[in-house]
Subunit: 415 residues, 2 copies
């Protein structure tokens, strides 16, 4: 059982997001060592002492980051000495290591740096592979307290160079840990739960986590145990059950984003794509081009924000715009077909809608979106009504458009 304590006013004031605790947790979790609690306190010495004195009953290992710098508001070593009833002494090994490091970096050691070698009596020095300040380890009864400097790069280096081996040796985790991330779009968390409830057996080996990240959900399957064969079998069994129940909505079983999945589909089939966006304003194209190699299949995108652009770049007839409006089934269809034809691509994807907050009407409220995919023989057009602010309507429209494209490429359908 392991806890993490992160120290710093920059964390408690919210001026810095705490990435250290998450990094350490992730590294330890991946080798089967879970974190039971994370605590953050400011630079005040009483708060640090309080945090060092309050690990949970069963915690034997505590990793502490921050407050080891050269300035007066770095008081972790002092707090550690006070918390464990030890003296703060100049640690010769730490001092020598620091001198060496400064020399190596051709930097001048300031008198203030000497303070960083003042450690609690009996502390074991933990070398810092990247920075100048050492970490240190203090044992107090059954408890092992590991102190690291708070610079994220140094936390990462010391976690990998010291903490992992130290904890592996001490805790000897015999577990095999497997992780799998299924990406789901088109079902909300509650609907997924509804469909899986009753289907998923209780298990000592497998745990399942649901992580919504608007507008999609990641399902994370973790399988843990001492027997590799059992762990693998259970992982496969659970994956199978989930696939059986919501397979239509799973677009990736390897954690890939939707635009990467679509890129792989297009590349494998050696087919190409052109996009015409109105309300999504370039978001679909931005997503597609985040994937390295997208120039192989994305020929062009036009963002036709004005009617003039719709007419000039996509031959949308002025009469059609007048009769049906720019946000309409015929215009979406025409946009998809024209962009495909002009670009000479296999597919044309088009979106036209009202992202809001203005521009809505009783017949076409904000969130009204038409999505069209044109292929060789036919064009599919879907009418949607999305909710939320401008950003959400854009995100949802892009996701639904890419999903429709995926189904057209695969020849599948959710209807």
């Amino acid at each position: 059982m392991i806890e993490i304590v992160t120290i710093g006013d920059e964390l408690t004031s919210g001026s810095t997001i705490n990435t250290n605790a998450g990094f350490i947790a992730q590294r330890l979790y991946s080798i089967g060592l879970p974190i039971s609690r994370m605590t953050t306190v400011g630079d005040g010495i009483e708060d640090i002492i309080g945090a060092l004195r309050s690990p949970l009953h069963q915690t034997r290992f505590i990793i502490i980051t921050g407050g080891l710098g050269p300035t007066g508001d770095d008081r972790t070593a002092e707090a550690a000495a006070a918390a464990f009833g030890k003296q703060l002494l100049l640690n010769q090994e730490a001092f020598t290591l620091m001198e060496k490091k400064f020399k190596q970096l051709q930097r001048k050691m300031n008198p203030a740096n000497k303070k960083q070698a003042l450690l609690p009596e009996g502390a074991r020095v933990i070398p810092n592979p990247v920075g100048t300040a050492c970490g240190f380890l203090v044992t107090d009864g059954p408890r092992h307290f590991m102190f690291f400097p708070g610079v994220p790069e140094e936390v990462r280096a010391i976690t990998d160079s010291f903490a992992i081996d130290y904890l592996k040796t001490a805790l000897n985790p015999k577990q095999v840990v497997l992780n799998k991330t299924l990406k789901v779009f088109g079902l909300w968390e509650s609907a997924i739960h509804e469909k899986l409830k009753g289907a998923l057996p209780d298990s000592d080996v497998v745990t399942i986590g649901y992580y919504p990240q608007y507008p999609e959900i990641s399902i994370k399957i973790t399988a843990k145990g001492s027997d590799t064969a059992v762990v693998q079998k259970e992982m496969m069994r659970f994956q199978e059950i989930i696939r059986d129940h919501i397979g239509d909505y799973i677009y990736s079983e390897s954690g890939e984003p939707l635009e990467a999945v679509i890129g792989d589909l297009l590349k494998a089939r050696k087919v190409t794509l052109a996009v015409a966006e109105s309300c999504t304003g370039g978001l679909i194209s931005h997503k597609l081009t985040n994937i390295s190699g997208s120039s192989e299949y994305l020929e062009r995108t036009v963002v036709v924000y004005s009617n003039r652009a719709k007419t000039e770049l996509l031959n949308v007839p002025t009469e059609m715009l007048g009769e049906y409006g720019a946000v309409s089934e015929p215009v979406a269809r025409c946009m998809a077909q024209s962009v495909r034809e002009r670009a000479g691509t296999t597919y044309g994807l088009a979106v036209t809608g009202i992202a809001g907050p203005t521009g809505g009407s009783p017949e076409k409220p904000v969130g009204t979106v038409f999505i069209a995919v044109a292929g060789d023989t036919q064009t599919k057009v879907k009418h949607h009504r999305f909710h939320g602010n401008r950003e959400r309507v854009k995100m949802m429209s892009a996701h639904v458009a890419l999903t429709l494209l995926r189904h057209v490429i695969l020849g599948t359908s959710l209807d």
Copy 2:
């Protein structure tokens, strides 16, 4: 005084970085309410109960996020009932609010959602302005526990719609607190430090925070004190000093994003814009269209990912592409001029470059980007070399392109 408890296996396993605690802390800090401790535990009910029972001696207000979802691993309400010795009951007000919200969003309420209205007896419902699940408040002796769903957007909304007023009323911070966010682009954090070091006096009233958010930095000035006149005067004095030293790099003094600043400039001048993107792939257009009302000035964007598109949509001569390559000064110039001309807009903005990781060469390594702005009388073209992965090159290119456009509109220059 105030503690924050964040709940979720995704946090203790390090699969999600904890942004909720930092957000809440930052908002409360900015009104003079500091956080004394932040605690994170997993979804296990005993761990949640433990966290609810262990606030520091002097803590009266505890904000808890997470574990209020519809699935079986969301057990915060159950843990709260257990921790405070209350029954878990269907809260009719919460249920009615949920029904209303689902109706409004035209989504079907699942039986699993009903669980989200099961709250500890006597809990006060906290409405959720964006999501479907309510928060709730439980008092236990002198302590006030506020429970929010863990979705970051919902945490933000409920913090602003509820927590701030509630805590202000309860704690009545007598301080005047002023905040100002200056957005800076074009200088790294260390360079800002270097330029401001020595210039900024010590102050009991003003604190300054630097928040890098790639590729820009926000400088947050907080002025606090009991005397409004003094606080205002000090805020202005510091703002002035910062402006004197790095004013050229400050594009907003009200925290607005760059694309909003540009939108305001274009609207104020009643001028228009067309964009031609290659390596940024639609990102510039996506940013511009995130601003409501952007259809007033953004006429169109073309993402010309292929040479064919460059030629067809922007008249880039095939010979020019052959002689100089698609990533070149003449092509960037031609793209900006052509998109402006074809769209009939005041300005044309163009970007062509190599986002990587592939496609680089010794003469034109990955990160080589040409940016052009065409106006009525002249076209400015800049050659850049950016570093980092594909995503970073795209982001940096978009930011630098919008910055060049801003300077052209303003008639200013950084050179």
